[in-house]
Symmetry: C2
Subunit: 148 residues, 2 copies
């Protein structure tokens, strides 16, 4: 089921708010698009629950790994699960990050996937998983295998 325009706009608003907060390195702003009780699983598989915990997870990272990082959302795709429940895929790229050991982590690409639901008048993220995408050449090699 495709989303109607008002849902599409609401979800686009969440995406843009998250992107802008990331690029301000603002952990408090980053949790604005999340529901109070939201769950966030990062690319390392670490899961935390609740806005405060999501903020606390990111605040120190914006002073270390991600202090020079810039996030760009390249694609948003929405699929309606119910009239008030949407599955959202958000593809992103990132420059300027460092890995947890402090080494440059250049030209990252990844995929956020969300469950977004209506909370009264607002749409908010209830569940978010983030994943790094492997190098394009590995993905291409796998695609070749699938065609055999």
């Amino acid at each position: 089921m495709a989303p109607d325009r008002s849902v599409e706009r609401a979800i686009e608003g969440l995406v843009r708010a998250l992107e802008a907060a990331w690029n301000r390195h603002d952990a408090h702003g980053l949790v604005e698009p999340f529901a109070q009780d939201a769950e966030f699983t990062n690319v390392f598989g670490m899961a935390v629950r609740g806005r405060a915990a999501i903020e606390a997870l990111h605040a120190p990272l914006f002073k270390t790994m991600f202090t020079d990082s810039h996030l760009t959302v390249t694609e948003t795709r929405v699929r309606m699960i119910r009239s008030d429940v949407a599955a959202v895929d958000v593809k992103w790229t990132m420059t300027g990050a460092r890995d947890p050991h402090g080494n440059p982590w250049p030209e990252r690409a990844g995929l956020l996937n969300w469950i977004v639901t209506r909370h009264g008048e607002r749409w908010l993220i209830d569940v978010s998983h983030n994943m790094d995408l492997p190098s394009p050449d590995l993905a291409k090699a796998q695609a070749e295998l699938s065609k055999r």
Copy 2:
């Protein structure tokens, strides 16, 4: 919201069916737990839609990369989004895989995340994303940063 026992059992059934089909390297069995119109995004970020497409994606891989692979589900976590919509996290490990270039890909660990909904009497997977988890030492280094 925690799932009730009947939902928990239904979802556990989907997990076990998928694990067993994987370990038979049976692409047709693998799509049994999925809804007809389900979407599957693999660890390379490749997304396909529909049972037939999910089967077609995996069938050649079970003859190549995954022909000697063994999947073990280590943890299933369910969160109810609506009474008929569940978010499910499935942690797994895998031995015996090869990467798309044919190199051994030992001791993989990963996380499937699903949106599972009620379809009449059955619960089925509507949306599935799979991700590889990076090495535990990278996750640990990131956890240390978050504690600062």
